[in-house]
Amino acid sequence: MTPEPNVPHRKRRNLVLLISVAVVAALAAAGAAALAVNIMEKKQEAKNPYFRVTELTDQTEDPEVWGKNFPLQYDGYKRTVDMVRTRFGGSEAVPRDPSDKDPRAATAQSRLDEDPRLRTFWNGYAFAVDFREERGHAYMLEDQIFTERQQASPQPGTCLHCHGSMYVPYMKAGDGDLIKGFEKLNPLPYAEARKHVTHPVACIDCHDPQTLALRVTRPGFLEGIRALKASQGVADYDVNTQATRQEMRTYVCGQCHVEYYFKGKEKRLTYPWAKGIKVEQILEYYEEVGHKDWTHKQAGTANLKAQHPEFELFSQGIHARSGVACADCHMPYTREGAQKISDHHVRSPLLNINHACQTCHRWPEEELAARVHQIQGRTYELRNRGMDAVVGLIQDLEKAVAAGKTDEELKTARALHRRAQFMVDFVEAENSMGFHADQEAARILGVAVDLARQGQLALRDPNFQPQLQPTNVTPTPREVSPPGAAEKK
């Protein structure tokens, strides 16, 4: 009846319960703290995925120093000295006698000797003197110093923008301002500007030294992509903060593998993208600014020279459309022991089909190589037709000049020559023989052949009206409602 005898018992029970709670809570706290410490240790591990042998700063230019922290990547980077050729690109080491002027014991094969039409193509311009197949990244500086083009016409410091490791030299020359340094080195004579430069393209040109994240450092691209994005309605584009990780894996290559010209007396390197990056848009830009690279010796045409527009052509192709980046094929992921790294031996995917293509395309190597060669062979055939057509027009123009035709009479034919030659050159100078965007390359060449032949017609008929665009015909019923379109809806 009375609870009295139970009180001490109940008290003891409460006491035991409380002590248990305290002990469990203490254990839980200890456990959580231990876990937190463990997580902290793991986070520290994650911060040092590599063995940090040396500190890298924003002034560390020498790739060998970077290589101490990243020996595998550095190893691949060094292998760009390899000289291996593919069907349409790359180079073999062509032996030569070193001289005082040019100490190189090997160069790449001369493209001018391979296809003498190229001499006619660039007659009057330094490219008709010396033009060779490209070698690997390791040779970019040396090959530019010793090309005979340097003697044919004096080159400005601008050229170094893409032939050296420029981030540190620009920063130094501009007292910490990249663009100022760029503006300072551009107008200098090449030999003068060359003194500021030590290495060919190096780690710091594409990587942030602290985070190792990709970073665009070349002013030409920073400004070019801003102009391009502005033409697409994006104002003040900053590639380093606004581009996605996957885009950066293309943009760092686009820093140099592009069409360009030197603007004005300042020789400011400019990518002609303010109207877009398709060949017609680039031509439209050049028409507007009235740029010419040189006057053709035989034809008298104010001509343009296209320079390796890889980024522009690739952007029109199926791989770009599918979200593939340059690095996916040219620097594929590769296993090195227990690690996987981007292969820094940048080279033709045809030399590395296993890693470059077969990650996505499940076909035997021979089949994949055959597909590429088929595309390139077709492009090459069209490219040869384009060369013939333009050379035909050049010869006709030369005859017309000799026959005493006035500049006014030759105006139409020369305008067509300028356009047609730039378009053929756009594919010819591009380093994939059409592969980067096969249908676009074929379209460009097809149009170019037509324009060159129209130029020949214009020389024969003073009343000839050139046709730059196809006739605007009324769309056929088939085009208005293609079969199957209704069902899709």
Partner: protein, 155 residues
């Protein structure tokens, strides 16, 4: 006001303190470990602890990165099944990673393999159906990821 001088009161206070500390440290650890990230679909969460960095980096370079992220292949489609699966994996992964008792390089287990296989089949149903019809005749069971193991990320 209760008399704190009693033995019972003092111990209550200590217990309450203990519970508070446990909750505080636990909560901090959860935030510090970015625990909430695991509730969502951002692929970066899967590499919160660095053991899956390789898989994440590989996924960026894979043929599927534009169409499927981690959870699209590694968790079931059904909402409840997805979070039960996440909880199960979360527990196993935490224990393994904390204790360090796991195979390196990491390997997929049978349950996760089944889930992934199922997710292949859900997207690629038209193709898989006709293959399965053929396989049924041969009385064999086919696995997508036995041959296509690198589509999501290389191994």
């Amino acid at each position: 006001m209760p008399r704190l001088s009693s033995r019972f009161g003092v111990i209550s206070l200590i217990a309450a303190l203990g519970v508070g500390v446990a909750a505080g440290v636990g909560g901090f650890t959860f935030l510090y470990a970015r625990g909430a990230a695991y509730m969502f679909d951002d692929p970066a969460a899967c590499a919160n602890c660095h053991v899956m960095n390789e898989q994440l980096n590989n996924w960026y370079r894979s043929s599927h990165h534009t169409v499927a992220a981690c959870n699209d292949c590694h968790t079931p489609k059904n909402f409840f099944a997805k979070y039960i699966h996440k909880a199960r994996n979360g527990w196993h992964h935490s224990v393994a990673f904390t204790s360090g008792d796991f195979h390196e390089p990491i390997q997929i287990g049978p349950v996760n393999r089944r889930v992934t296989e199922q997710r292949c089949r859900e997207c690629h149903e038209p193709v898989v159906d006709s293959i399965d019809a053929h396989a049924a005749q041969q009385q064999s069971e086919l696995s997508c990821i036995r041959c296509h193991r690198d589509v999501g990320h290389a191994h």
